[in-house]
Amino acid sequence: MSRERALAVARVAVLGVAIVVALFPFWWMLVTSLKQPVDIFRGVSLVPQHPTGDNYSRLFGDYHMGSFLVNSLIVVTVSVAVSLVLGTLAAYALARFRLRFGLNQSALVAALLVRTLPPILLVIPLYLTLTKYGLLNTRLGLIVIYGGLNTSFVIWMMQSFLEEIPKDIEEAAMVDGDSRLRALFRVVLPLAAPGIAATAIFSVITTYNDFLLALTLTSTPAAQTVPVGVSTLIGKIQIEWGPMAAAGVVGALPIMIFAIIVQRHFVRGLTFGAVK
């Protein structure tokens, strides 16, 4: 065997091990979700002995997984959409205009500050605020909170992406007859698509994953999101391993689908040959 071939085999072997290690927990979860309760406790086995869909039907039937999913999807979609629009517009202004008194820098620092505060610090004031406006245990309450937190993140990400896009291109569009806003939407944002995709993915994942805020600010399946909902499967007396594994599988699906949809934007270059 030649040296090159040995290297190639070694490379594949290392990658293979990495993939197995990375995917094993997911496989374990999938297998557990298809097992009968007795089999779960019988010992280690990599395939379900008596496959069953019971866990899934109990998850949706007894444990309101449907509501949790709907809540999560609505809260994540709306809050990320709102913060993408607001944050991108703000980022564009910061990237293109030099404000007086060094306000650009102060605005960025202020936005960063929001993000750097540990959520545990925010939880109690937010709880009191939402109570005051009757938004406790509502989707709208969560949307407002997540929207605000995400916007600061979007501003930072998009500001650096937008600065990379040559000013000439939107100026050309403006001379060609666009208003600034139209040039932004028709020329600048299509070029910033990879950046928007990256920002969106990150925002979606952090929002979807959030546990602390959602746990504090919601209390019934009317507004509880997936992570909080799953935690209710841990009861005082017993832990429902089967439905919990099923919830893990179902909960991971939306993020995987979303990642598959937007990943092609990562591959594309940022400005792909606009200027020489």
């Binding site: 403006m174 001379v175 007859g177």
Partner: protein, 368 residues
């Protein structure tokens, strides 16, 4: 339509990019703004495009005051140094973009895009994306996008500076021909004096945000308003010597040159162009003594550098020039082809033999 700057100025913070500028480009003329980088020429262009707001003054296109208008309402077309094509749109979509925004009918639009593309020789590229084009092709697409509608004015910001030398020469000719054909008022920003001289009807020479001289290329060459203009236009640049005028002659440590009719006296700077002097034998009358320093044969002519005491002069000589390096020689400027400048301000003084810049009769007798 004509384009007019009225005391238009621009400051960025405390730095003044453009001093109050008064400038008119007559309808259909090609005006080149010429100057080194940072001289305010691009700022002036951006003010006209509406991409910057003037700090003071007004700007007119035709009779319309456009000072506060957004770029899209000014109806000008601009070609950027970077071409600024829309990378996510095909060549055809790029060219059609200005039309699309003006809601012209689809059939007419396609027809015009096709015609303009033919005119610029990019008819076969309409389906391509900008990233698939060479620099020269991108340049043509940018031009096509500018001429596809009939704007009130073309603004061009160093459109040729990213092209290689040969392509630049070719595009220079094409842009000039296009401009004449379309008859659209054009402002062309460049730092390349050859581009300005060859293409423009009028040249505005800028320096440090201020207009130095506005003149036709011939006038600029014959009568530079000051030392800066004199040195900036012409390659190799004009030779300039410090000396003094006494008794109708220019005195220099290396010799003296008669200035028939010179009315001034005292210290001055004397300038003459490399093509307006000859290298002759050491000791010849009315010449400056020196020695051959470098000889550069170019084929059609020879560039000779002559060293006077501690200054170097550039002289254009004929192709067969054969004096060896180091030989003692002399430089004799052609009569009537020398320029005098104020020693301190650098402003041009009346040419020897002329009473004022306007006395053309005298100039003729002085051999101009």
């Amino acid at each position: 339509m004509d384009v007019r700057y009225e005391r238009a100025s621009k400051s960025f913070g405390s730095t003044q990019a453009l001093a109050p500028l008064d400038l008119t480009v007559p309808d259909g003329k090609f005006l080149a703004m010429l100057g080194p980088s940072g001289c305010g020429k691009t700022t002036a262009l951006r003010l006209l495009a509406g991409l910057e707001q003037p700090t003071s003054g007004r700007i007119y296109i035709g009779d319309r005051d456009v000072t506060r208008l957004e770029p899209r309402h000014r109806d000008v077309a601009m070609v950027f140094q970077s071409y600024a094509l829309y990378p996510h749109k095909s060549v055809a979509e790029n060219i059609a973009y200005p039309l699309r925004l003006r809601r012209s009918a689809a059939a007419e639009r396609d027809e015009r895009v096709r015609r303009v593309a033919e005119l610029l020789g990019i008819g076969g590229l309409l389906g391509r994306m900008p990233r698939e084009l060479s620099g020269g092709q991108r340049q043509r697409v940018a031009l096509a996008r500018a001429i596809v509608r009939r704007p009130h004015a073309f603004l061009m910001d160093e459109p040729l500076s990213n092209l290689d030398a040969q392509l630049r020469l070719q595009m220079r000719v094409e842009i000039k021909r296009l401009q004449r054909e379309l008859g659209v008022t054009t402002l062309y920003v460049t730092h390349d004096q050859i581009e300005a001289m060859t293409m423009a009807d009028l040249i505005a020479v800028m320096r440090d945000g201020a207009l130095q001289q506005l003149a036709t290329p011939a006038e600029l060459y014959e009568r530079p308003a000051n030392l800066f203009v004199a040195r900036f236009c012409g390659s190799p640049p004009m030779n300039v010597l410090d000396g003094a005028v006494e008794d109708g002659s220019f005195r220099h440590p290396t010799g003296s040159i008669p200035l028939p009719g010179a009315e001034i006296r005292g210290p001055v700077k004397l300038g003459f162009r490399p093509e307006h002097a000859e290298v002759t034998d050491h000791g010849a009358p009315d010449s400056l003594a020196g020695e051959i320093y470098v000889v550069e044969p170019l084929g059609n002519e020879t560039l000779v550098t002559v060293r006077l005491e501690d200054e170097l002069l550039n002289i254009r000589a004929h192709a067969g020039f054969d004096r060896p390096v180091g030989e003692r020689c002399a430089v004799r400027p052609a009569e009537g082809r020398v320029h005098l400048f104020d020693k301190d301000s650098g402003e041009a003084l009346a040419k020897p033999g002329e009473r004022g810049a306007s006395s053309a009769g005298h100039a003729a007798t002085a051999g101009i």
